[in-house]
Every structure is written in C-alpha cells, then in structure tokens.
C-alpha cells in the first residue's frame, strides 16, 4: 500500500473487513517476497504441494484440489513445466486429459518453498504469543469454514 506516512485514521480503520484484508495484504507481501527470490508465486507452491499430496493427476482434478481455476492452471503448469519442475504427459486412457506429475527438481523446489513459508508464518505472527497465535488460527478457521459452507451451497436444491 505504498507509504501511508500520514497514517490513515479514517472511519474504516477498525472495521474487521479492513483489518482482515490489510493484514492479509501484509501476509501476501511477506509470502510473495519470500517466494519471488526463488522465482515462484502462490500458484506454483499450491500446485506443487497438491501434486505431492495427491500424486499425479489431470489438470482439472488438480484445479479442484488446489482451488486454482482451470484456466489459470494452464499457465501455472506451463511455467512449472518450462523449468522442469513438473511434467505434462497425455493420458493414454483418456485423450482429453493430461497427466501432470512432480519431478525430482519440483520436489526440491517445493522443499525450498515450504521452508520460506514457515519463516513467513513466524514473521507474520511475530507480535503474538503462542496462545494468541493459536487463538487467531482457531478464529480464522471458524470464519473460513463458515464462509466455505455458505459460499458454496453445492447444489443445495437437489
């Protein structure tokens, strides 16, 4: 947010939505900076982590599992495949599909990203005690859970 040197004590300052989005902005910057030194961004990490967790899969399946939109998945895989971190092979059993799999280099990159990410958590939560961190995590989990449910009715009329 550039340099709000004159501070910004308008009315919205204490609104939860403001606090949330601004703190998230800082978190996003921390993580983004950490990732960028190894030439990665959020989508790269998410895809690599999903691949390691679930194993090779089609682009559509990876999209569902990682929460990355199918159309963004194409570019993400392109970028990772160009650097040999991921492999894209046609599925012999279904010619519509590509099977994406993690390479050894991709796994090493994932390790690096995980390390960076762990450091970021600490930097992010620096001013909080262990109990406070725990509490914050719990509160945020509850919120996220709630909005995931209500936000995705999953065809509730059937």
């Amino acid at each position: 947010m550039q340099n709000p040197s004159e501070k910004t004590p308008a009315g919205w300052e204490s609104l939860p939505s403001w606090l949330l989005t601004q703190t998230a902005q800082h978190a996003h910057r921390l993580v983004g900076d950490a990732f960028s030194v190894v030439h990665a961004r959020g989508y790269h990490y998410r895809l690599l982590a999903t691949l390691e967790t679930f194993g090779p899969a089609s682009q559509a399946a990876l999209g569902r599992r990682s929460g990355i939109h199918v159309s963004d998945m194409v570019a993400t895989i392109n970028e990772l495949a160009d650097r040999g971190l991921v492999e894209r092979a046609p599925d012999p059993a279904d010619r519509r599909r590509n099977i994406i799999s993690l390479t050894a280099a991709g796994q090493r990159q994932l390790r690096r990203l995980e390390e960076r990410l762990a450091e970021c958590q600490d930097e992010l939560l620096a001013p909080l005690s262990a109990e406070e961190r725990q509490r914050l995590t719990e509160l945020l989990s509850r919120l996220l859970d709630h909005h995931r449910r209500t936000g995705t009715p999953e065809e509730p009329w059937r």
Copy 2:
C-alpha cells in the same frame, strides 16, 4: 476461488498466512459484491470516507491519507468526478495542485456505502460471538500495527 468441491486438504490449509488471505478473500468478495450493487469499489469508498474525514485536499494528500497510490488516485477521482460524487478544482494558491472536494451526492453515496459495509461486517463475523469478534479484532489490530511499523521504517537511518 471458484468451487473447490473436492475440498483442498493439502499441507498449507492450516498455515496462518493461508487462513488470513483466504478469509480476507471472502471478506473482499462480500464487500465487493455489496459495493458493486451501487457501482462502487473499495477505492471509491476509501476516497469518499477520507474526504469526509479530512475535508477537501490535493490528490497527493488524499493519497497519503487513504493509502491509495497517487497514480490510482487519478483514475479513482476521474470515476467519482464523472458521476458528480466529487469535484476537482485547480488550487489557486498552487498551480501544481488540484483541490478535491466531496459533493452532496458524494456524501449520500458514502452513507449508502457505509450501510452496506456495516452489513458486511455482520455477515463476515456471523459464526463468532461478541467476545470472539472483539478478540479477533484486537489480534488483527496488533498484527497490522506491527507490520505497519516494521514495513515502513520511515527513513530509520537518519
């Protein structure tokens, strides 16, 4: 984030940075949707609120106070001025400057946005009790404060 129907139980799910950015994403969507029905977005609200709080000012001053980047300020003011919510007049005392001021229509729009925003807070925090909301707000404030300090050293070497 589209429809993560297959859920997304990979490793990152419990990381504070993830919880924070995802919850913020939901907050952002809530507010964005609410604002969009009156054809506004975040920057519009922030600028209107800043104008009401501090009164007429130059674009640069508004940028510092609202945290909106000067270059985005131009477009934001253009959009609001086109709809008569804000007025841009040259500063007779300093020909580099424009003086931006809130119109009556702009004030009415601000009222509308504030109402919508208040509703969003409730929707955002729905699953939390009053004490929990209070706690969350406090924790987030502490984080935000910390990162605002450390993120903007304000020429610490002088």
